[in-house]
Subunit: 227 residues, 2 copies
DNA sequence: AATTAACATAAGGTTGCCCTTATTATTGCC
DNA sequence: GGCAATAATAAGGGCAACCTTATGTTAATT
């Protein structure tokens, strides 16, 4: 099987699919929204990727990655998360910028570089945003957590990962202390899909005495906490 | 002055110009050849870059970088050579692959990353291929050397840099020991633009007892030696 | 069963960057 | 001064990714 170079666009569509829902079907609309592209463009692209055997599109149901597509997608994830480690640990880049900066590098990284980088970093298992780094063969253990938006009111949970991709969203979460390792107590959930009221604390503390903050439910979806 | 993101193509044209002849005019044909693109395409591109104020095209004379264009070009060079240092010194990537691998990364590197990388590397002045690394403001001291193809017969000179960009050419030169620091004695130059006969030695030696090799003149142009 | 939101598809466009082929212009050289 | 190489320009295309606007189609909801 000859693996030709895939375009940045192609890689981003595949990565978005695996990020949105590993192994399940993804609605074209969700994909389009995530990539800031119209649904028509996404449809076109899914046709092209279908022809290349990277995705399977079931009209009116959604798209799913094929085995080959998932391999590519996981490899993109690997590259992006390895770069996040490097940027954070060695270049001291701000946490909020990691996703965006690594998202450029990921498409310009040859396999030799990816693997040498992994060795250089000591084969890390997790990126600074808390997500697992797929192995060279694409395998990885998915996080065993739930979105903060689904945590029980009154519970105190630890943040495992932050899944947002837009830098302004990441910034917003960061400013409220919502980073991996921090403890969060869900003080209150406003009715009718209203915002959450939270107490957020650094790791040592317990999410009770910390600063209180209000977080929209759609943003809380990006924060993965232990279940 | 708002600096919008320039395309990879644009950056490569500008970089090729500064590599071919800093501050002098470059013939469209030479540029086209270097980039493996037709002269017509190069002409088109020069029109576009002209409209953006990055180059000045004087028909039948050649193209030259504007001040703005040269700034961009030097910044691309900086990124590429910093990456070469990282790939070589920290990732232990093979010397022959450095140019190609760094040439991808250079276009995906934001200013924050470039500067943090420079700090991480200790602000190196030279890349593993021997070329100077422009400072953040674009300034750099050009190498004070001549192409090996212009060295006097009988002379023993030290290699300062290797300027080739095609990996197979770099490989060819590498196999013959033509790397920065090595000593070369020009044993003979065949007449009528014929090949050079060389003795190449590692740094300690003196380019006399080393292995003898024959090198085409067009390849010898890529090897910069002290003048 | 009808309605509606989401989705699919068709059609027509744009932009960037590449190509070929043909024609014209310039320049350096014999 | 004429010739050949080089360069420029014109014209016509291709392809990947995007877009809008319109028109069907499906499926979930009432
Ligand atoms: Mn990306
Ligand atoms: Mn490049
Ligand atoms: Mn069309
Ligand atoms: Mn045209």
């Amino acid at each position: 099987m000859i693996i030709q170079q895939l375009s940045e666009s192609t890689e981003m569509y595949l990565k978005a699919m695996v990020e949105l829902s590993d192994r399940e079907m993804v609605a074209i609309g969700r994909l389009a929204e995530r990539l800031s592209v119209t649904a028509v463009s996404t449809n076109e692209m899914m046709r092209r990727l279908g022809e290349q055997g990277l995705v399977k599109h079931t009209p009116y149901k959604g798209v799913a990655l094929t085995k080959k597509g998932r391999e590519v997608a996981c490899n993109v994830l690997r590259r992006q998360r390895l770069w996040e480690c490097f940027l954070y640990d060695h270049l001291k880049i701000e946490w909020t910028q990691l996703y965006e900066l690594a998202c450029s590098l990921e498409h310009a990284t040859a396999p030799e570089v990816t693997e040498a980088l992994a060795v250089f970093l000591g084969n890390p298992k997790t990126c600074p945003r808390g997500n697992p780094i797929p192995a060279a063969d694409g395998s990885f253990v998915p996080l065993n957590g739930i979105p903060l938006s689904e945590a029980a009111v009154g519970a105190t949970v630890r943040v495992l990962a932050v899944n947002a991709t837009a830098t302004d969203v990441i910034q917003h979460l960061f400013e409220r202390g919502l980073l991996p390792g921090h403890k969060v107590k869900v003080v209150e959930a406003a009715p009718l899909q209203g915002p959450l009221t939270l107490c957020v604390d650094p790791p040592e503390k317990n999410g009770a005495g910390g600063k209180e903050t209000v977080l929209g439910l759609s943003l809380a979806e990006f924060v993965i906490v232990e279940s």
